[in-house]
Every structure is written in structure tokens, then in C-alpha cells.
């Protein structure tokens, strides 16, 4: 027989002004099983906790109910208090008579009646509670960062600086990401390469960081603290250990028609290539699609010239397995394909470019050596039209959305940057920016945009471009000015499209491997939008950078550091104490239907074939559910799904919940 103690808190006047606390304590004494009750002004205070501890000792209480505020507030406090005097912490229940009772009612009689009902429900539950003990699992002290852009690099550096081993897996031949392709950064106009390439070097040289470039994650098993990850090292046909990055092969290679990804395809590169001069690791890669030796069997020019003997045409993809304690997703973004927006004639004219292409056209290391020349005829453009929100902020009212419903966040600022940089180099250029709204929240951001308008005389027009017609070497832009309510016709030399940002295509399959949740736009979901912004709801998985949502460089770096600190907090532990309130399956009741496995958002449930000794002394192999307690987060989805009632949740068992409901309905 349980001996229950009930402790009713006044919370100053928060509860006591609306609930007759003495009446609640008195009512408690009449509930079967309750052997002691008391009320006190602040139960969470030192003295209040002392009251609980003394009563446990004096009356030999086996269960405690505290009628106070939300369990989110002080459940942990009271659990610690009862544990201090030897009671299992899971033998404590909190009845919330503040948020859900005194704060929302005015009439004392009804509020008191409700508080008594809530107390009775908690007593009914605690009577059925059983002591629970949390298990522990060891932690592998190595982190995996997926993506080697500025987000991944910063996260890796911060984790490594704390003394933990970090591996970066990057799909491209070099780390650096999109930031390495940018010309200048807003709002300071400092050179992007000049700040990102030293970071790349730091990552490359850090003794605690290992870079798997030109590699992909193909399988993830395990759980927080104990992930087992398979990494595919794509055949680069160049031995990383031998290649010195001298670049002789790239000069000799006769295949020169491969589109140069680093320059957004604005020029070509050779089949054997180093993406750019500051690449890390600075080793060559052979593009098997364009290599003459690999496609036709003849050539071998690079192997002949390579003094290091690094070229290996026989190379194959390799798979390695590595153990990690934590995984950070930093898969970044890409710009949407703007070709469906053919009203802007992107597919019809080379002079209609995306903002990222424009970035390369402005860049000193770009295809034009930093001279802004239009792609069609290599002439300097005199009139440039920038179109904002191409595919961003689209309405879905018609149900036929081409683009994205969200704001891509960085376009307003980089367009102001493009406009000013262009005006700096070519003051005679006429620049028009068509916008829905100019959105510039951020330190020194609005000042930056206003400089474009006020000092540089960039024509900002609230309105929309309806049509771009390439004709006679010009781009005829037809647009509406929504403020003047006028139709505009501009003969432009170039049109620049600020395409919407979307998560990298690799994010969706990665989320599936991680069993990490995503929103409808394929951005990773955070565990809590405000309070846990860098953690995935899946334990041990953290988020860094654009893969969680559009953000600029400073925000990305801040989030990268935050994700790193969460990883460090995890890796610093030798063992993880689990949450004992996890699901378990009654194997005799389980009918093997797999419904729990389907609904489990964390991938905690698997099925096993097990031998059972039947009552008639025969042996039968049955397929039954198994819960991995280290992965289970105790959400309870499986328990309500299970048709045979085999799934149950420790601490929130079906019997305990029903007892609560029965008490409320009595």
C-alpha cells in the first residue's frame, strides 16, 4: 500500500488568492492512500522543500504530490528534493493548479473544486507509479560535420578548439562552400575570399580536424553518443596523399569543355581540375564525365606530366565506417532553378543572369577578371535591372505555387551590395531595383541600403517586372511602378535575378538517414523554434547554417558556434544518462504489425525475429517490436498507435493515464 503525501503551494497569492489551499489540503486527507497533507507559502523555497523532506522521513511516504505551478517550472526541483531523502524521483507528481487553474479562474469556489480534482488525479497516478532508473550509455568523443561551407567550417573549428576530434564530410572537391564564391560581403564590403580562405586553411591545418572532401554520407546507424556512419569517398582518380597541388596536370589536360561550377558555368574548366587557387585540400580531381582517358580510353596526358605520380585512372569509390558521438548537419543551400520564370527570359538570353552568376562576374578571380562585361558580347552594361524575390514570398492561394512561400532573407542586402559595387566601378551605370519590400533588419543593414538609394542614386522601384524581351541586343523590360501606378519600359543591357534560396538537394536524403524532421520546404526543423534553435528533435543531431533556414554570414557563424557548443556539451560527458520514461513492448502481446515502427519519429523501434516457448511447450518464432531506450524520446506516439496494447510508456503507462482520467471524471 502506497503512503502518499500531498503538498499544496500558495505561490504567494498566485494560487492562494483564487484557490482555497487549506480546503485542497483538507480534501487530500480524505483521498484513499493519502497519509499526510500540508500547505505552505512557497513550496519551491528551501523551507518548502524541507517540509516535503521531513514529511517523507517522518511518515515514511512512498509517493509525493505537489500541487503547485506547471511541472515545466519546478518538477526537476521537487524530484531532486525527494531524491535527497531516498525516494525515487519518479515517485513524485506535480498537479498544476496555477497555470491551468488559479490563473485562469476568477471564482474561488470553482477554482478550488478544480484544484481538488487535479490533486485527486495526481494522487491516482502516483499510486500506480513505480520507481524508475535511468540507464547510461557511453559517448564516442568524435563529431561529424556534414558540409564544409562557412557553417560547417566554423562548427568544426569550435569543436576542435575545445579538444575534440572532428571530421568534415564535403561533397565537393574543396571546402569553402558558397562563401568562397562571393565577391564582397555586406554591409562592410570586405572581400569574401580574404576572410574565408584563411578559415579554410585553419580547418585544413587543424590537428583535430580531418576533411573528407569529394565524399558523401551514405548510411547512418546508431543513436546519440554512438552513431555509426558510412562515408563514400568518391573516386577522384588523384591520390590525395601524393598530389602536391602544382596544377601542371590542369595546364596539360586537352579536355577543356567542362562547365566551371565555381564560376557558375560562366566559363569552362579542364577535366582534371582544382576548383580554385585557394582550394583546401589543394589537390586535383578528375571529372569522369569529361576525362578523355576515362571515357574513350586514350590520352593519359595528366599521368605523364604528374611528377608525383598521383594520377590513378583505376581508382574506385571507397566506403569507410566511422563512429561518432554527435552529428552536425551543415548542408547549406543553393539557388532555385530560375528557368521556369521564363517571363524574365533567363533561358533566352545570356545577359539575364542570377545573382550568384553576377557575383562571379564582379569577382577579380571570376571569368572576366573582375571586369563587369555582359556575357553575350563582352561589352560593359550601361543599364542594369535587378529583380528581387524571383521565387521567394510566393502566394499559394491559387494552389499552383512555382516558388517558395518564404523570404530568402539575404537578397535585399546583396542586391544593394551589387548595385553599389557596380556604381563604384562604373559610375555611369543606370541601375534599377524592383522590389516587393526592402527588408534590411540587421546591424548597419538599413544604413547600407539607404546609402545605395541616397548616395549612389540607385533607382529603387516598388513594383514588379512582368516581362523581359530580348531583342536587338537589348533586354526590353516591361514593369509596373506600384507607387506611381505607371507602366515602365526600360531598355536594359543586363537583368539580374535574385532567385529564391532553397536547401541543398542532399538535405532530404540526409534527414531520412538521420531520422531528423524537416519542414515542407526541406529545411531542417529545430527542437524548439525559440529555445532550442540549433538542435534537431533527434537526439545527438545538431543544425548549423542555411540548412535550418535562410540566414546571412554573421548569423550562420553565430549558429555554427552555438551548434558547436551543444556538441561540446555532449562530447564532454563520458556517459549519457537516459530518460527512463521510454516506451517498452510487451513481447507476448505484440502482433508484429509494424505500426509503431512507422509512427516513431526517432527511429527508435525495430523488429526482431525471436523464439518463444509457447504454453503447449512448442517453440515458435515471432516478429516482435524492440525499443532502443537510448533513442526513444518518450513521446508516446507508439503507445496510442499499438492496436494490441503491447506498447507502453514508463512513467506514463496506459494504466496511470487512465487512473488520472478516472479520478477527474469521478
Amino acid at each position: 500500500m502506497q503512503k502518499i503525501g500531498v503538498f499544496v503551494c500558495w505561490c504567494g497569492s498566485n494560487i492562494a488568492a483564487t484557490v482555497d489551499v487549506k480546503a485542497v489540503a483538507e480534501a487530500a486527507r480524505k483521498v484513499p492512500g493519502v497519509v499526510f497533507s500540508a500547505d505552505y507559502q512557497y513550496m519551491c523555497s528551501e523551507a518548502g522543500q524541507g517540509l516535503i523532506k521531513d514529511a517523507i522521513k517522518e511518515h515514511g511516504l512512498t509517493g509525493v504530490v505537489v500541487c503547485s505551478c506547471s511541472p515545466r517550472m519546478h518538477e526537476a526541483t521537487f524530484r531532486k528534493a525527494v531524491q535527497a531523502v531516498g525516494l525515487n524521483p519518479y515517485m513524485l507528481e506535480v498537479a498544476n493548479i496555477r497555470e491551468q487553474c488559479s490563473w485562469v479562474h476568477k471564482d474561488m469556489a470553482t477554482a478550488t473544486e478544480k484544484a481538488i480534482a487535479l490533486m485527486q488525479a495526481a494522487v491516482a497516478k502516483v499510486t500506480l507509479n513505480t520507481p524508475l532508473t535511468a540507464g547510461t550509455t557511453p559517448v564516442t568523443k568524435r563529431a561529424l560535420v556534414i558540409g564544409g561551407g562557412i557553417a560547417g567550417m566554423q562548427t568544426a573549428l569550435d569543436i576542435a578548439d575545445a579538444g575534440y576530434e572532428v571530421d568534415i564530410v564535403e561533397a565537393k572537391p574543396t571546402i569553402g562552400g558558397k562563401m568562397a564564391q562571393l565577391d564582397k560581403t555586406f554591409p562592410t564590403l570586405d572581400c569574401s575570399s580574404c576572410i574565408v580562405t584563411p578559415k579554410m586553411v585553419e580547418v585544413g591545418q587543424h590537428e583535430k580536424i580531418h576533411i573528407y572532401s569529394y565524399s558523401e554520407v551514405t548510411q547512418i546507424k546508431g543513436f546519440v553518443g554512438n552513431f555509426n556512419v558510412t562515408i563514400k569517398r568518391k573516386a577522384r582518380y588523384v591520390d590525395e596523399a601524393k598530389c602536391t597541388g602544382c596544377g601542371a596536370c590542369t595546364e596539360k589536360c586537352p579536355s577543356r569543355k567542362a562547365p566551371n561550377e565555381f564560376n557558375m558555368g560562366l566559363n569552362n574548366r579542364t577535366a582534371v581540375y582544382i576548383p580554385f587557387a585557394q582550394a583546401v585540400p589543394k589537390v586535383a580531381t578528375i571529372d569522369p564525365e569529361y576525362c578523355i582517358k576515362l571515357t574513350k580510353g586514350k590520352c593519359g596526358a595528366c599521368a605523364k606530366i604528374c611528377e608525383a605520380g598521383a594520377i590513378n585512372y583505376e581508382a574506385k569509390d571507397e566506403y569507410i565506417e566511422v563512429e561518432y558521438g554527435a552529428i552536425v548537419a551543415a548542408t547549406g543551400f543553393e539557388m532555385i532553378d530560375v528557368s521556369p520564370y521564363d517571363e524574365y527570359a533567363y533561358t533566352q538570353s545570356p545577359d539575364v543572369v542570377t545573382s550568384l552568376e553576377y557575383e562571379r562576374l564582379m569577382n577579380a578571380a571570376g571569368p572576366t577578371g573582375g571586369h563587369l562585361l555582359r556575357p553575350s558580347d563582352g561589352k560593359e552594361p550601361k543599364t542594369i535591372v535587378f529583380i528581387q524575390c524571383v521565387g521567394s514570398r510566393e502566394s499559394c492561394s491559387s494552389g499552383e505555387m512555382r516558388g517558395k512561400p518564404y523570404c530568402s532573407k539575404v537578397c535585399c542586402m546583396y542586391t544593394a551590395k551589387h548595385a553599389m559595387l557596380t556604381k563604384d566601378h562604373y559610375p555611369d551605370t543606370d541601375i534599377y531595383v524592383f522590389y516587393i519590400d526592402v527588408r534590411t533588419p540587421g546591424k548597419n543593414f538599413d544604413e547600407f541600403y539607404r546609402r545605395a538609394v541616397e548616395q549612389y542614386g540607385v533607382h529603387y522601384i516598388k513594383g514588379a517586372v512582368g516581362k523581359v524581351t530580348p531583342e536587338g541586343g537589348k533586354l526590353k523590360v516591361q514593369a509596373s511602378d506600384l507607387i506611381l501606378n505607371e507602366q515602365l519600359h526600360i531598355d536594359a543591357d543586363m537583368v539580374v535575378l535574385a532567385g529564391a534560396i532553397e536547401p541543398n538537394k542532399s538535405a532530404r536524403p540526409l534527414a531520412t538517414m538521420l531520422t531528423a524532421s524537416m519542414d515542407t520546404n526541406d529545411f531542417f526543423t529545430e527542437a524548439h523554434p525559440k529555445l532550442r534553435p540549433v538542435e534537431s528533435p533527434t537526439a545527438g543531431v545538431f543544425l548549423s547554417g542555411m540548412c535550418q533556414g535562410p540566414k546571412d554570414i554573421p548569423e550562420t557563424v553565430a549558429q555554427a558556434g552555438a551548434a558547436a557548443s551543444k556538441v561540446i556539451g555532449l562530447l564532454a560527458k563520458d556517459h549519457l544518462v537516459g530518460n527512463p520514461c521510454v516506451a517498452h513492448s510487451d513481447e507476448w502481446m505484440c502482433n508484429g504489425c509494424s505500426q509503431c515502427e512507422t509512427v516513431c519519429p526517432y527511429g527508435a523501434i525495430t523488429y526482431e525475429e525471436k523464439e518463444f516457448r509457447m504454453p503447449d511447450r512448442t517453440t515458435k518464432v515471432r516478429r516482435v517490436a524492440q525499443v532502443n531506450p537510448a533513442v526513444c524520446q518518450g513521446c508516446g506516439a507508439c503507445t496510442v498507435t499499438c492496436p494490441s496494447g503491447a506498447m507502453d510508456l514508463n512513467g506514463f503507462s496506459n494504466a496511470e493515464i487512465m487512473a488520472e482520467v478516472d479520478a477527474l471524471c469521478r
Binding site: S339, P340, Y341, D342, E343, A345, T347, Q348, S398, G399, E400, K467, V468, T469, P470, E471, G472
Partner: protein, 264 residues
């Protein structure tokens, strides 16, 4: 293959060529287009007010007749196609319209719930016959001709209902032009409005629109532009003199390439 065919009023008057060449080409391709025995005007313009029911009735009669015949309904005129396809969509999805229309048509013993499949002639070519098949049957390829497609506004929009092609980045007519052996010319104005019925109100508007379309087509190298719409044809043809661009119905070029254009 047999289909019900809805020519529409204009194809019996101003746009007889569009109709005639369309029928000849279909015959050459082994397609039986059976004109509905009784049909009325499609309504002309799809009514934008939701409770405008009477205008939709004639379309529904044609749709119901095709259903009773057990065939898909083929249209040729862009405007008729637009109205009939949108009305059919209403009859599949909009309970208010379905109820009201069927109340009206109960007197004639008609009950219709969007069962008929509506195809534009171009969709017939692409989806039922296939452009590869047409390429095989081309007797006189239009070699060396630079032809621009002119879609206008009605053929593709509203895109969700018409479901024919991407309204901003269409390819169906360019693919047909290529199948006929000619060189398709893509130009930006190909899916802009010709000025439409404004020609009755203020002719300067279609005149301006036609100039923009024809000049753009010419500048991108087109010698001919083709259309499926009698009204576009009228507006463009009227202002084509001196632009160096010929305006033709797509069925005429199809018939010529298939070698069934009379007098050739």
C-alpha cells in the same frame, strides 16, 4: 482513333482555314474527327462571375454529347478550348456550379459531372499521336524555315486548369515545329496578349501589341509565326504588313508538311 470534334463558330466563318487544314491533317494522321451533330457557341469568354451559369450551359451540352458518344472532345480554337476546358473543370470540382447547371439541364434530360476528357488539337498531336510519329509521317519537311510559335494568352492559362504546358516556358508548339522539320524560334513575346477583343474598342492597343510581338519574333529570326487562335490571327495578320513576318494557323503548316495541303 475516333474523337468528337467541336469546331466553334469562328471556324465556320472567318477561320475556315484553321478548321479545314486541321481536318485534312487529322485524316492524314489516321485520326477520325467527328463533328458533334449539334453544337452551340462555346460561350465566347469564360465568365468570371461565379454565379454566371447560363453562359456555361452550351459548353456542358457539348461535353455531355461527347460523353454519350464515348469519345474525348477535341477543340481547335484557343478560345473555345479555354471556355470548354474551364467549364469542364467546374463540372468536376465546383458543387455550386454542378448543381445549378444540372438543374437547368434537367429539362433536356441531361445530367453531367465532368466525365469527358477535353483535348486541344495540339494535345492530340503530342499526347495521343506523338511528335515522333508525326515526324515519321511528314512528307514535305519544312526544311530551313524559321518558325516562331505564338501561344497568346488563352491556350495555356490558367495553367492549373488548362494543364497543357508551362505558361511561361511552353514547348508544345516548338516541339511540333521541330517535328515538321522546321527550325523553332523562341522569342519572349510568344505568350503575351495580342490585344484580344480590345480591337473593337480601341484598335491602337492591339496594333501596339501586334507590333511588339511581330518585331520581337522578327528580331529573333522568325519568318513565320503560327497560332491556334482566330482572334490572335486576326489581330496579328492585320498589322503584319511590312514586318517581314507571316502569320499562319499551325494547322496549315501541319497540312503542308504532311503533304495534304490542297493545291500543292
Amino acid at each position: 482513333m475516333k474523337y468528337s470534334y467541336f469546331p466553334g463558330c469562328t471556324l465556320k466563318n472567318k477561320a475556315q482555314e484553321l478548321d479545314r487544314y486541321g481536318r485534312d491533317a487529322a485524316a492524314a494522321l489516321g485520326i477520325e474527327l467527328e463533328e458533334l451533330p449539334q453544337w452551340q457557341c462555346c460561350g465566347g469568354v469564360y465568365p468570371l462571375s461565379h454565379d454566371e451559369i447560363a453562359i456555361k450551359l452550351s459548353s456542358v451540352r457539348a461535353l455531355a454529347a461527347a460523353r454519350d458518344d464515348g469519345t474525348a472532345l477535341v477543340t481547335l480554337c484557343s478560345a473555345c478550348h479555354n471556355v470548354i476546358k474551364q467549364v469542364n473543370h467546374d463540372m468536376q470540382t465546383d458543387d455550386y456550379v454542378i448543381t445549378r447547371v444540372n438543374n437547368y439541364l434537367a429539362e433536356d434530360g441531361i445530367a453531367y459531372n465532368g466525365e469527358t476528357r477535353v483535348l486541344h488539337y495540339l494535345e492530340l498531336l503530342r499526347d495521343e499521336i506523338g511528335f515522333d510519329e508525326i515526324k515519321q509521317k511528314v512528307a514535305m519537311p519544312l526544311k530551313g524555315q524559321k518558325i516562331g510559335a505564338y501561344y497568346g494568352c488563352l491556350l495555356l492559362r490558367p495553367s492549373g486548369v488548362m494543364a497543357m504546358d508551362d505558361p511561361e516556358h511552353p514547348t508544345i508548339m516548338e516541339d511540333l515545329i521541330a517535328a515538321l522539320g522546321a527550325q523553332p524560334v523562341v522569342y519572349a513575346q510568344r505568350n503575351e496578349c495580342c490585344g484580344g477583343y480590345l480591337t473593337l474598342e480601341d484598335e491602337s492597343i492591339p496594333k501596339k501589341r501586334a507590333a511588339a510581338i511581330l518585331e520581337n519574333a522578327r528580331a529573333q529570326g522568325a519568318e513565320t509565326i503560327i497560332t491556334a487562335c482566330p482572334l490572335c490571327y486576326y489581330n496579328l495578320k492585320k498589322h503584319a504588313d511590312g514586318t517581314g513576318v507571316e502569320v499562319k494557323y499551325f494547322t496549315e503548316l501541319l497540312a503542308r508538311a504532311l503533304g495534304v495541303k490542297e493545291g500543292e
